[in-house]
Symmetry: C2
Amino acid sequence: MHKYSKQTRHLLAVDCIVFGFDGESLKILLIQRGFQPEKGNWSLMGGFVQQNESLDQASNRILKELTGLDGVYLEQLHTFGDTSRDPIERTISTAYFALIDIHKYEKQLSDDYHAEWFPLKNIPGLIFDHQDMVEAAKRRIRYKAALHPILFELLPDKFTIPQLQILYESVFNTTIDKRNFSKRVLATGLLIKLSEKDKAGSKRGAYYYQLNKQNYYAKFQAFLNFIPNPDTLLL
Amino acid sequence: MHKYSKQTRHLLAVDCIVFGFDGESLKILLIQRGFQPEKGNWSLMGGFVQQNESLDQASNRILKELTGLDGVYLEQLHTFGDTSRDPIERTISTAYFALIDIHKYEKQLSDDYHAEWFPLKNIPGLIFDHQDMVEAAKRRIRYKAALHPILFELLPDKFTIPQLQILYESVFNTTIDKRNFSKRVLATGLLIKLSEKDKAGSKRGAYYYQLNKQNYYAKFQAFLNFIPNPDTLLL
DNA sequence: ATTATTAATTGTAAAATAAACAACAAAAAG
DNA sequence: CTTTTTGTTGTTTATTTTACAATTAATAAT
């Protein structure tokens, strides 16, 4: 039942870039495409948008179907609409990126699905324009993480400050002074110190911290660096 | 010739939020929708994506068809994909935002087209989810302008520092100290002082400035505030 | 011609923030 | 008990940001 009867209709897809952190480096999740063309080649998790679902619903559904991941941080990135991006038939694709705690789903991913993690610095050739999507996602995650505390989504519920620092250093490909880093993150008021220690990484052990969820939401938007007195802004 | 033969096809639209600045307040451009449903009601500039054009091409074409605007700053904002956003038939729409010098096109817009400028603080009811799109565009322009010098796109080729300040103050809905503001913008190295003055706004007259295009592109990406030593980053 | 008015231009001191820098503590291994 | 390894903490300096007001240039008014 086409009401706008004269208009062309298009194929619409969703592709998901899933970031994970294993304590050493930032990785993304890839699968081998299960159908022609490019069957067997590495690909992002993608699929077509159905008639009765929103883009957000489609991205969640596709991610779950292909990896089992559910209820994770998922955010729309960009829509890729070049006419020849899919050589078979024109398809517009909206890319989403996800941030997950890599260990939380490790077993599930390798047992039930055939997804594999690849370090960002060593990504195989990807189908179509998926390489562009990954690049855009890398830029976005850096951009956003420079202003908002989203990287906590990549860590387990309990984490240590050295772990957090390694994460930041690997996302931004830099090194940060230990003293200044911990001063800085503790000053945000986002962390709650636990009495328990993580003994895995060192002899002495490092204290676990948890996110203060309340402050997390409250401070998520505090970022306008260029503008003086951001508190006086009517947002 | 449908190669992915089993898949549903969708209507795809593009909607453009055009921002302009008249020296006093930030405004957006609206038109009265020319066809049913909602004919005659205020709407963003929108249209359907054709088979043989990319999204970027579609947004440029639609903007030109409906307003005559060509070659302006246009950037993809977000894709709105709720199933019921268009009550007639499901349509996914990718929103773009544009920044233009309002005076440059003032006559053209009112003579040849029936577009009208509305101050951001006084926008009429809009069709469909266009209000959401405008809100998202406002957030994006603030976000981006806090980090990148995009607001210059809203000004004429020659502008004065007081004009620039009013623009920033109106985008961020705040007030800024004159001395600190001019120190700050001049320190960016983005401005070239001209010998000519603008006598319109005051008796004394304010010097015109121009953008230093080279520095503009070079410094556009300099923003990573959270991260120390951004120069050492491998981008 | 003098004075009044208006908006543009410019500098400095104080405060806040960020950067540089190293010693000590805790626990395990030997 | 000594060594080794990694976690934790503080101070000084430099840089950046903020707060704050007098002067200048031009026109308008008398």
